[in-house]
Symmetry: C2
Subunit: 250 residues, 2 copies
Amino acid sequence: MQSFRFTAESSGDEVVERDFTVGEVPGVLWSPPSAPDHAPLVLVGHGGGLHKKTPALAARARHAVTTWGFHVAAIDAPGHGDRPRTADDERARAALRQAMDSGDKPGFESAGVRYTASLVERAVPEWQATLDALRALPEFGDSPVGYAGGITLGTAIGVPLTAADPRITAAIFGGGFFAYDALIAAARRITVPVQFLLPWDDEHVSRDSALALFDAFASPEKTLHANPGDHRTIRWTGVDDGFLARHLRA
Amino acid sequence: MQSFRFTAESSGDEVVERDFTVGEVPGVLWSPPSAPDHAPLVLVGHGGGLHKKTPALAARARHAVTTWGFHVAAIDAPGHGDRPRTADDERARAALRQAMDSGDKPGFESAGVRYTASLVERAVPEWQATLDALRALPEFGDSPVGYAGGITLGTAIGVPLTAADPRITAAIFGGGFFAYDALIAAARRITVPVQFLLPWDDEHVSRDSALALFDAFASPEKTLHANPGDHRTIRWTGVDDGFLARHLRA
Protein backbone atom coordinates (compact mmCIF):
# COMPACT_ATOMS: atom_id res chain seq x y z
CA MET A 1 0.00 0.00 0.00
CA GLN A 2 1.23 3.52 -0.79
CA SER A 3 2.18 5.87 2.03
CA PHE A 4 -0.76 7.89 3.33
CA ARG A 5 -0.69 10.92 5.60
CA PHE A 6 -2.86 13.83 6.55
CA THR A 7 -0.97 17.08 5.89
CA ALA A 8 -3.38 19.80 7.07
CA GLU A 9 -6.70 20.17 8.85
CA SER A 10 -9.18 23.02 9.16
CA SER A 11 -12.39 22.62 11.11
CA GLY A 12 -15.61 24.57 10.83
CA ASP A 13 -18.86 24.05 12.71
CA GLU A 14 -20.26 21.76 10.06
CA VAL A 15 -17.36 20.37 8.03
CA VAL A 16 -13.83 19.17 8.82
CA GLU A 17 -11.49 19.57 5.84
CA ARG A 18 -8.33 17.45 5.86
CA ASP A 19 -5.66 17.55 3.15
CA PHE A 20 -3.80 14.30 2.56
CA THR A 21 -1.29 12.66 0.27
CA VAL A 22 -1.29 9.11 -1.08
CA GLY A 23 2.20 8.55 -2.47
CA GLU A 24 2.73 11.62 -4.66
CA VAL A 25 -0.97 12.37 -5.11
CA PRO A 26 -2.52 15.23 -3.10
CA GLY A 27 -6.10 14.90 -1.95
CA VAL A 28 -8.70 16.38 0.35
CA LEU A 29 -11.26 14.78 2.64
CA TRP A 30 -14.37 16.63 3.81
CA SER A 31 -16.08 15.03 6.84
CA PRO A 32 -18.77 15.72 9.44
CA PRO A 33 -17.28 16.89 12.78
CA SER A 34 -18.57 13.67 14.29
CA ALA A 35 -19.79 10.70 12.32
CA PRO A 36 -20.45 7.07 13.18
CA ASP A 37 -17.69 4.71 12.01
CA HIS A 38 -18.10 3.37 8.49
CA ALA A 39 -20.26 6.27 7.24
CA PRO A 40 -20.55 6.42 3.44
CA LEU A 41 -17.58 7.75 1.48
CA VAL A 42 -18.08 9.55 -1.83
CA LEU A 43 -15.19 9.95 -4.27
CA VAL A 44 -15.55 13.13 -6.34
CA GLY A 45 -13.78 13.63 -9.66
CA HIS A 46 -13.10 17.17 -10.89
CA GLY A 47 -13.52 18.36 -14.49
CA GLY A 48 -10.76 18.81 -17.07
CA GLY A 49 -8.46 21.78 -16.32
CA LEU A 50 -9.84 22.09 -12.79
CA HIS A 51 -8.64 20.67 -9.45
CA LYS A 52 -9.68 18.92 -6.22
CA LYS A 53 -10.86 22.13 -4.50
CA THR A 54 -12.60 23.85 -7.42
CA PRO A 55 -15.28 26.04 -5.74
CA ALA A 56 -18.30 24.29 -7.31
CA LEU A 57 -16.91 20.87 -6.38
CA ALA A 58 -16.08 21.97 -2.81
CA ALA A 59 -19.58 23.45 -2.40
CA ARG A 60 -21.19 20.22 -3.57
CA ALA A 61 -18.92 18.22 -1.25
CA ARG A 62 -19.87 20.37 1.75
CA HIS A 63 -23.54 19.97 0.82
CA ALA A 64 -23.11 16.17 0.84
CA VAL A 65 -21.38 16.30 4.24
CA THR A 66 -23.96 18.54 5.90
CA THR A 67 -27.09 17.13 4.22
CA TRP A 68 -26.30 13.42 4.14
CA GLY A 69 -23.50 12.92 6.68
CA PHE A 70 -21.15 11.57 4.00
CA HIS A 71 -17.38 11.80 3.89
CA VAL A 72 -16.25 13.20 0.53
CA ALA A 73 -12.77 12.69 -0.96
CA ALA A 74 -11.21 14.37 -4.00
CA ILE A 75 -7.72 14.04 -5.52
CA ASP A 76 -5.98 16.07 -8.20
CA ALA A 77 -5.96 14.31 -11.56
CA PRO A 78 -2.53 13.83 -13.18
CA GLY A 79 -1.12 17.21 -14.28
CA HIS A 80 -3.97 19.07 -12.57
CA GLY A 81 -4.12 21.24 -9.42
CA ASP A 82 -0.93 20.92 -7.38
CA ARG A 83 0.59 18.24 -9.60
CA PRO A 84 3.33 18.75 -12.20
CA ARG A 85 2.63 18.20 -15.88
CA THR A 86 4.79 15.90 -17.96
CA ALA A 87 6.16 17.04 -21.30
CA ASP A 88 3.56 14.77 -22.92
CA ASP A 89 0.80 16.52 -20.95
CA GLU A 90 2.02 19.90 -22.16
CA ARG A 91 2.08 18.72 -25.77
CA ALA A 92 -1.42 17.20 -25.45
CA ARG A 93 -2.84 20.40 -23.97
CA ALA A 94 -1.22 22.54 -26.66
CA ALA A 95 -2.70 20.31 -29.37
CA LEU A 96 -6.14 20.56 -27.73
CA ARG A 97 -5.97 24.35 -27.48
CA GLN A 98 -4.77 24.72 -31.04
CA ALA A 99 -7.58 22.53 -32.41
CA MET A 100 -10.17 24.48 -30.40
CA ASP A 101 -8.82 27.90 -31.46
CA SER A 102 -8.76 26.94 -35.14
CA GLY A 103 -12.31 25.53 -34.98
CA ASP A 104 -11.03 22.11 -36.09
CA LYS A 105 -13.78 19.94 -34.60
CA PRO A 106 -12.46 16.49 -35.67
CA GLY A 107 -8.95 17.53 -34.58
CA PHE A 108 -10.34 18.75 -31.23
CA GLU A 109 -12.13 15.46 -30.74
CA SER A 110 -9.14 13.25 -31.53
CA ALA A 111 -6.75 15.39 -29.44
CA GLY A 112 -9.30 15.32 -26.62
CA VAL A 113 -9.66 11.55 -26.74
CA ARG A 114 -5.87 11.00 -26.75
CA TYR A 115 -5.27 13.32 -23.78
CA THR A 116 -8.26 11.99 -21.84
CA ALA A 117 -7.18 8.37 -22.37
CA SER A 118 -3.71 9.16 -21.09
CA LEU A 119 -5.12 10.85 -17.96
CA VAL A 120 -7.56 8.00 -17.33
CA GLU A 121 -4.83 5.37 -17.56
CA ARG A 122 -2.89 7.09 -14.76
CA ALA A 123 -5.85 8.24 -12.65
CA VAL A 124 -7.67 4.92 -12.18
CA PRO A 125 -4.84 3.23 -10.18
CA GLU A 126 -4.35 6.48 -8.21
CA TRP A 127 -8.01 6.45 -7.14
CA GLN A 128 -7.75 2.77 -6.21
CA ALA A 129 -4.65 3.47 -4.10
CA THR A 130 -6.52 6.36 -2.44
CA LEU A 131 -9.45 4.10 -1.67
CA ASP A 132 -7.09 1.41 -0.27
CA ALA A 133 -5.50 4.01 2.00
CA LEU A 134 -8.78 5.55 3.21
CA ARG A 135 -10.39 2.19 3.90
CA ALA A 136 -7.34 1.26 5.98
CA LEU A 137 -8.34 4.05 8.42
CA PRO A 138 -10.53 2.81 11.31
CA GLU A 139 -13.18 5.46 10.57
CA PHE A 140 -13.82 3.96 7.12
CA GLY A 141 -13.13 0.21 7.09
CA ASP A 142 -15.91 -1.19 4.94
CA SER A 143 -17.78 2.10 4.43
CA PRO A 144 -20.12 2.03 1.42
CA VAL A 145 -18.43 3.89 -1.44
CA GLY A 146 -19.96 6.01 -4.19
CA TYR A 147 -18.42 7.97 -7.04
CA ALA A 148 -19.62 11.39 -8.24
CA GLY A 149 -17.99 12.59 -11.41
CA GLY A 150 -19.94 15.57 -12.66
CA ILE A 151 -19.29 16.01 -16.36
CA THR A 152 -16.11 15.84 -18.50
CA LEU A 153 -12.89 14.40 -17.02
CA GLY A 154 -14.49 13.31 -13.74
CA THR A 155 -16.76 10.96 -15.66
CA ALA A 156 -14.09 9.83 -18.13
CA ILE A 157 -12.03 8.64 -15.13
CA GLY A 158 -15.00 7.44 -13.09
CA VAL A 159 -16.47 5.07 -15.68
CA PRO A 160 -13.42 2.76 -15.96
CA LEU A 161 -12.80 3.16 -12.21
CA THR A 162 -16.34 2.05 -11.35
CA ALA A 163 -16.12 -0.80 -13.87
CA ALA A 164 -12.85 -1.98 -12.29
CA ASP A 165 -13.56 -1.52 -8.58
CA PRO A 166 -16.36 -3.53 -6.92
CA ARG A 167 -16.12 -1.37 -3.79
CA ILE A 168 -18.01 1.40 -5.66
CA THR A 169 -21.72 0.58 -5.44
CA ALA A 170 -23.38 3.69 -6.94
CA ALA A 171 -22.13 6.38 -9.29
CA ILE A 172 -23.05 9.78 -10.70
CA PHE A 173 -21.71 10.45 -14.18
CA GLY A 174 -22.33 13.03 -16.87
CA GLY A 175 -21.69 14.07 -20.44
CA GLY A 176 -19.33 16.73 -21.72
CA PHE A 177 -16.61 14.62 -23.36
CA PHE A 178 -16.22 12.23 -26.27
CA ALA A 179 -17.24 8.72 -25.23
CA TYR A 180 -14.53 6.75 -27.05
CA ASP A 181 -14.71 2.99 -27.56
CA ALA A 182 -12.81 1.95 -24.42
CA LEU A 183 -15.15 4.06 -22.26
CA ILE A 184 -18.24 2.59 -23.89
CA ALA A 185 -16.77 -0.87 -23.25
CA ALA A 186 -16.15 0.01 -19.59
CA ALA A 187 -19.72 1.35 -19.26
CA ARG A 188 -21.03 -2.02 -20.49
CA ARG A 189 -19.34 -3.67 -17.46
CA ILE A 190 -21.06 -1.36 -14.95
CA THR A 191 -24.11 -2.79 -13.20
CA VAL A 192 -24.41 -0.56 -10.10
CA PRO A 193 -27.07 2.19 -10.01
CA VAL A 194 -26.08 5.17 -12.17
CA GLN A 195 -27.35 8.73 -12.23
CA PHE A 196 -26.35 10.52 -15.43
CA LEU A 197 -26.37 14.31 -15.88
CA LEU A 198 -26.46 15.77 -19.37
CA PRO A 199 -26.15 19.45 -20.32
CA TRP A 200 -28.55 19.48 -23.27
CA ASP A 201 -26.84 22.23 -25.29
CA ASP A 202 -23.15 21.32 -24.93
CA GLU A 203 -21.45 23.18 -27.77
CA HIS A 204 -18.27 21.07 -27.70
CA VAL A 205 -19.55 17.52 -27.54
CA SER A 206 -22.27 15.84 -29.55
CA ARG A 207 -25.41 14.84 -27.68
CA ASP A 208 -25.28 11.45 -29.39
CA SER A 209 -21.94 10.66 -27.76
CA ALA A 210 -23.40 11.25 -24.29
CA LEU A 211 -26.59 9.31 -25.09
CA ALA A 212 -24.50 6.38 -26.37
CA LEU A 213 -22.61 6.34 -23.07
CA PHE A 214 -25.84 6.35 -21.04
CA ASP A 215 -27.21 3.62 -23.28
CA ALA A 216 -24.14 1.45 -22.65
CA PHE A 217 -24.45 1.14 -18.86
CA ALA A 218 -25.61 -2.39 -18.00
CA SER A 219 -27.16 -1.10 -14.75
CA PRO A 220 -30.78 -2.15 -14.19
CA GLU A 221 -31.20 1.18 -12.41
CA LYS A 222 -29.94 4.15 -14.36
CA THR A 223 -31.55 7.57 -14.71
CA LEU A 224 -30.65 10.26 -17.21
CA HIS A 225 -31.37 13.87 -16.20
CA ALA A 226 -30.99 16.44 -19.00
CA ASN A 227 -31.33 20.19 -18.53
CA PRO A 228 -30.74 23.11 -20.87
CA GLY A 229 -27.21 24.42 -20.50
CA ASP A 230 -23.94 24.63 -22.41
CA HIS A 231 -20.57 23.03 -21.61
CA ARG A 232 -19.88 25.53 -18.82
CA THR A 233 -23.36 26.66 -17.75
CA ILE A 234 -24.90 23.63 -16.18
CA ARG A 235 -28.08 23.74 -14.12
CA TRP A 236 -29.08 20.65 -12.20
CA THR A 237 -32.74 21.63 -11.75
CA GLY A 238 -34.90 18.73 -10.71
CA VAL A 239 -32.06 16.27 -10.23
CA ASP A 240 -32.72 13.69 -7.53
CA ASP A 241 -30.46 14.79 -4.67
CA GLY A 242 -31.15 11.64 -2.63
CA PHE A 243 -29.70 9.23 -5.20
CA LEU A 244 -26.46 8.44 -3.33
CA ALA A 245 -28.17 8.44 0.06
CA ARG A 246 -30.59 5.74 -1.13
CA HIS A 247 -27.80 3.52 -2.40
CA LEU A 248 -25.05 4.07 0.19
CA ARG A 249 -26.89 3.15 3.35
CA ALA A 250 -24.39 1.43 5.60
CA MET B 1 -69.99 27.84 -21.49
CA GLN B 2 -70.97 24.15 -21.66
CA SER B 3 -73.24 22.68 -18.99
CA PHE B 4 -71.32 21.40 -15.97
CA ARG B 5 -72.60 19.20 -13.19
CA PHE B 6 -71.32 16.87 -10.52
CA THR B 7 -72.90 13.44 -10.95
CA ALA B 8 -71.50 11.40 -8.05
CA GLU B 9 -69.35 11.82 -4.96
CA SER B 10 -67.47 9.41 -2.73
CA SER B 11 -65.43 10.61 0.20
CA GLY B 12 -62.58 8.93 2.01
CA ASP B 13 -60.47 10.23 4.88
CA GLU B 14 -57.90 11.71 2.59
CA VAL B 15 -59.49 12.21 -0.83
CA VAL B 16 -62.90 13.31 -2.10
CA GLU B 17 -63.71 11.87 -5.53
CA ARG B 18 -66.39 13.64 -7.58
CA ASP B 19 -67.56 12.53 -11.01
CA PHE B 20 -68.73 15.30 -13.33
CA THR B 21 -69.82 15.98 -16.89
CA VAL B 22 -68.98 18.95 -19.09
CA GLY B 23 -71.43 18.79 -21.99
CA GLU B 24 -71.13 15.17 -23.16
CA VAL B 25 -67.69 14.61 -21.64
CA PRO B 26 -67.40 12.62 -18.39
CA GLY B 27 -64.68 13.56 -15.94
CA VAL B 28 -63.52 13.04 -12.38
CA LEU B 29 -62.14 15.44 -9.80
CA TRP B 30 -60.03 14.28 -6.85
CA SER B 31 -59.72 16.84 -4.03
CA PRO B 32 -58.53 17.17 -0.44
CA PRO B 33 -61.42 16.93 2.08
CA SER B 34 -60.73 20.55 2.96
CA ALA B 35 -58.56 22.87 0.94
CA PRO B 36 -58.10 26.62 0.85
CA ASP B 37 -59.89 28.31 -2.07
CA HIS B 38 -57.85 28.56 -5.26
CA ALA B 39 -55.57 25.61 -4.46
CA PRO B 40 -53.63 24.35 -7.50
CA LEU B 41 -55.50 22.26 -10.08
CA VAL B 42 -53.70 19.60 -12.11
CA LEU B 43 -55.22 18.26 -15.34
CA VAL B 44 -54.19 14.66 -15.96
CA GLY B 45 -54.32 13.03 -19.39
CA HIS B 46 -54.63 9.24 -19.68
CA GLY B 47 -52.73 7.07 -22.16
CA GLY B 48 -54.08 5.65 -25.42
CA GLY B 49 -56.66 2.89 -24.93
CA LEU B 50 -57.04 3.74 -21.22
CA HIS B 51 -59.49 6.01 -19.38
CA LYS B 52 -59.87 8.72 -16.73
CA LYS B 53 -59.83 6.29 -13.76
CA THR B 54 -57.09 3.90 -14.94
CA PRO B 55 -55.59 2.56 -11.65
CA ALA B 56 -52.09 3.96 -12.17
CA LEU B 57 -53.51 7.38 -13.04
CA ALA B 58 -55.91 7.35 -10.07
CA ALA B 59 -53.08 6.34 -7.72
CA ARG B 60 -50.90 9.18 -8.96
CA ALA B 61 -53.82 11.60 -8.63
CA ARG B 62 -54.46 10.53 -5.03
CA HIS B 63 -50.74 10.91 -4.28
CA ALA B 64 -50.87 14.50 -5.61
CA VAL B 65 -53.94 15.25 -3.48
CA THR B 66 -52.53 13.82 -0.25
CA THR B 67 -48.90 14.92 -0.70
CA TRP B 68 -49.31 18.34 -2.25
CA GLY B 69 -52.90 19.36 -1.51
CA PHE B 70 -53.70 19.67 -5.22
CA HIS B 71 -57.04 19.12 -6.92
CA VAL B 72 -56.64 16.70 -9.84
CA ALA B 73 -59.04 16.46 -12.79
CA ALA B 74 -59.20 13.84 -15.54
CA ILE B 75 -61.60 13.42 -18.48
CA ASP B 76 -62.10 10.56 -20.90
CA ALA B 77 -60.48 11.21 -24.28
CA PRO B 78 -62.80 10.92 -27.33
CA GLY B 79 -63.78 7.28 -27.86
CA HIS B 80 -62.15 6.24 -24.57
CA GLY B 81 -63.55 5.13 -21.20
CA ASP B 82 -67.30 5.80 -20.99
CA ARG B 83 -67.47 7.56 -24.37
CA PRO B 84 -68.80 6.07 -27.62
CA ARG B 85 -66.49 5.54 -30.56
CA THR B 86 -67.32 6.93 -33.98
CA ALA B 87 -67.13 4.72 -37.06
CA ASP B 88 -63.92 6.60 -37.96
CA ASP B 89 -62.47 5.76 -34.53
CA GLU B 90 -63.23 2.07 -35.06
CA ARG B 91 -61.60 2.11 -38.48
CA ALA B 92 -58.54 3.93 -37.12
CA ARG B 93 -58.15 1.45 -34.26
CA ALA B 94 -58.51 -1.52 -36.58
CA ALA B 95 -55.82 -0.10 -38.89
CA LEU B 96 -53.52 0.43 -35.91
CA ARG B 97 -54.05 -3.12 -34.61
CA GLN B 98 -53.53 -4.65 -38.02
CA ALA B 99 -50.27 -2.74 -38.59
CA MET B 100 -48.99 -3.78 -35.16
CA ASP B 101 -49.95 -7.46 -35.60
CA SER B 102 -48.30 -7.65 -39.01
CA GLY B 103 -45.10 -6.00 -37.74
CA ASP B 104 -45.51 -3.18 -40.27
CA LYS B 105 -43.58 -0.45 -38.46
CA PRO B 106 -44.06 2.39 -41.00
CA GLY B 107 -47.75 1.46 -41.34
CA PHE B 108 -48.09 1.43 -37.53
CA GLU B 109 -46.47 4.84 -37.32
CA SER B 110 -48.66 6.46 -39.99
CA ALA B 111 -51.87 4.88 -38.64
CA GLY B 112 -50.85 6.01 -35.15
CA VAL B 113 -50.22 9.57 -36.25
CA ARG B 114 -53.57 9.80 -38.10
CA TYR B 115 -55.57 8.43 -35.17
CA THR B 116 -53.68 10.52 -32.60
CA ALA B 117 -54.16 13.72 -34.63
CA SER B 118 -57.90 13.08 -34.85
CA LEU B 119 -58.15 12.52 -31.08
CA VAL B 120 -56.06 15.61 -30.33
CA GLU B 121 -58.21 17.82 -32.54
CA ARG B 122 -61.30 16.89 -30.52
CA ALA B 123 -59.68 16.66 -27.08
CA VAL B 124 -58.04 20.09 -26.86
CA PRO B 125 -61.35 22.08 -26.95
CA GLU B 126 -62.87 19.54 -24.53
CA TRP B 127 -60.10 20.18 -22.02
CA GLN B 128 -60.49 23.95 -22.46
CA ALA B 129 -64.25 23.67 -21.84
CA THR B 130 -63.51 21.56 -18.74
CA LEU B 131 -61.09 24.17 -17.47
CA ASP B 132 -63.62 26.96 -18.15
CA ALA B 133 -66.25 25.05 -16.15
CA LEU B 134 -63.97 24.20 -13.22
CA ARG B 135 -62.60 27.72 -12.93
CA ALA B 136 -66.17 28.99 -12.80
CA LEU B 137 -66.57 27.15 -9.46
CA PRO B 138 -65.81 29.37 -6.43
CA GLU B 139 -63.32 26.82 -5.06
CA PHE B 140 -61.11 27.27 -8.13
CA GLY B 141 -61.45 30.76 -9.61
CA ASP B 142 -57.90 31.67 -10.61
CA SER B 143 -56.24 28.53 -9.23
CA PRO B 144 -52.80 27.87 -10.73
CA VAL B 145 -53.18 25.12 -13.34
CA GLY B 146 -50.72 22.41 -14.34
CA TYR B 147 -50.96 19.57 -16.83
CA ALA B 148 -49.60 16.05 -16.26
CA GLY B 149 -49.71 13.83 -19.31
CA GLY B 150 -47.67 10.75 -18.58
CA ILE B 151 -46.59 9.20 -21.83
CA THR B 152 -48.45 8.47 -25.12
CA LEU B 153 -51.88 10.03 -25.76
CA GLY B 154 -51.85 12.17 -22.60
CA THR B 155 -48.82 14.01 -23.92
CA ALA B 156 -50.00 14.14 -27.54
CA ILE B 157 -53.08 16.01 -26.28
CA GLY B 158 -51.26 17.99 -23.60
CA VAL B 159 -48.65 19.58 -25.85
CA PRO B 160 -51.08 21.46 -28.13
CA LEU B 161 -53.35 22.17 -25.13
CA THR B 162 -50.49 23.74 -23.17
CA ALA B 163 -49.35 25.66 -26.25
CA ALA B 164 -52.89 27.01 -26.74
CA ASP B 165 -53.94 27.75 -23.16
CA PRO B 166 -52.06 30.37 -21.10
CA ARG B 167 -53.81 29.23 -17.92
CA ILE B 168 -51.49 26.20 -17.84
CA THR B 169 -48.22 27.32 -16.24
CA ALA B 170 -46.27 24.06 -15.82
CA ALA B 171 -46.53 20.69 -17.55
CA ILE B 172 -45.33 17.11 -17.29
CA PHE B 173 -45.02 15.31 -20.62
CA GLY B 174 -43.44 12.10 -21.84
CA GLY B 175 -42.50 10.00 -24.83
CA GLY B 176 -44.23 6.92 -26.14
CA PHE B 177 -45.77 8.21 -29.39
CA PHE B 178 -44.66 9.58 -32.73
CA ALA B 179 -43.95 13.30 -32.46
CA TYR B 180 -45.41 14.42 -35.79
CA ASP B 181 -44.75 17.87 -37.27
CA ALA B 182 -47.79 19.65 -35.80
CA LEU B 183 -46.81 18.47 -32.30
CA ILE B 184 -43.22 19.61 -32.73
CA ALA B 185 -44.58 22.99 -33.90
CA ALA B 186 -46.83 23.19 -30.81
CA ALA B 187 -43.89 22.29 -28.55
CA ARG B 188 -41.94 25.22 -30.01
CA ARG B 189 -44.66 27.57 -28.71
CA ILE B 190 -44.42 26.25 -25.14
CA THR B 191 -42.38 28.39 -22.73
CA VAL B 192 -43.66 27.22 -19.31
CA PRO B 193 -41.52 24.83 -17.21
CA VAL B 194 -41.65 21.29 -18.58
CA GLN B 195 -40.74 17.97 -16.99
CA PHE B 196 -40.32 15.23 -19.60
CA LEU B 197 -40.38 11.50 -18.81
CA LEU B 198 -38.84 9.06 -21.27
CA PRO B 199 -38.96 5.25 -21.09
CA TRP B 200 -35.50 4.52 -22.51
CA ASP B 201 -36.33 1.17 -24.14
CA ASP B 202 -39.71 1.88 -25.77
CA GLU B 203 -40.08 -0.88 -28.35
CA HIS B 204 -42.80 0.90 -30.35
CA VAL B 205 -41.49 4.44 -30.73
CA SER B 206 -38.03 5.63 -31.71
CA ARG B 207 -36.02 7.37 -29.03
CA ASP B 208 -35.11 10.07 -31.55
CA SER B 209 -38.77 11.06 -31.90
CA ALA B 210 -39.06 11.65 -28.15
CA LEU B 211 -35.72 13.49 -27.99
CA ALA B 212 -36.80 15.74 -30.88
CA LEU B 213 -39.96 16.63 -28.95
CA PHE B 214 -37.98 17.47 -25.80
CA ASP B 215 -35.56 19.49 -27.91
CA ALA B 216 -38.44 21.53 -29.40
CA PHE B 217 -39.84 22.98 -26.15
CA ALA B 218 -38.93 26.68 -25.98
CA SER B 219 -39.09 26.55 -22.17
CA PRO B 220 -36.03 27.99 -20.40
CA GLU B 221 -36.69 25.39 -17.70
CA LYS B 222 -37.15 21.87 -19.02
CA THR B 223 -35.79 18.65 -17.56
CA LEU B 224 -35.67 15.26 -19.25
CA HIS B 225 -35.74 12.19 -16.99
CA ALA B 226 -35.02 8.87 -18.73
CA ASN B 227 -35.21 5.48 -17.04
CA PRO B 228 -34.90 1.95 -18.40
CA GLY B 229 -38.30 0.55 -19.27
CA ASP B 230 -40.37 -0.47 -22.29
CA HIS B 231 -43.61 1.04 -23.60
CA ARG B 232 -45.64 -0.56 -20.81
CA THR B 233 -43.10 -1.04 -18.02
CA ILE B 234 -42.24 2.43 -16.90
CA ARG B 235 -40.33 3.17 -13.71
CA TRP B 236 -40.07 6.77 -12.61
CA THR B 237 -37.08 6.25 -10.27
CA GLY B 238 -35.39 9.48 -9.32
CA VAL B 239 -37.97 11.75 -10.92
CA ASP B 240 -38.39 15.09 -9.14
CA ASP B 241 -41.77 14.71 -7.41
CA GLY B 242 -41.83 18.36 -6.33
CA PHE B 243 -41.82 19.78 -9.86
CA LEU B 244 -45.48 20.86 -9.98
CA ALA B 245 -45.47 22.00 -6.35
CA ARG B 246 -42.58 24.39 -7.09
CA HIS B 247 -44.35 25.91 -10.07
CA LEU B 248 -47.99 25.96 -8.94
CA ARG B 249 -47.72 27.91 -5.72
CA ALA B 250 -50.83 30.03 -5.44
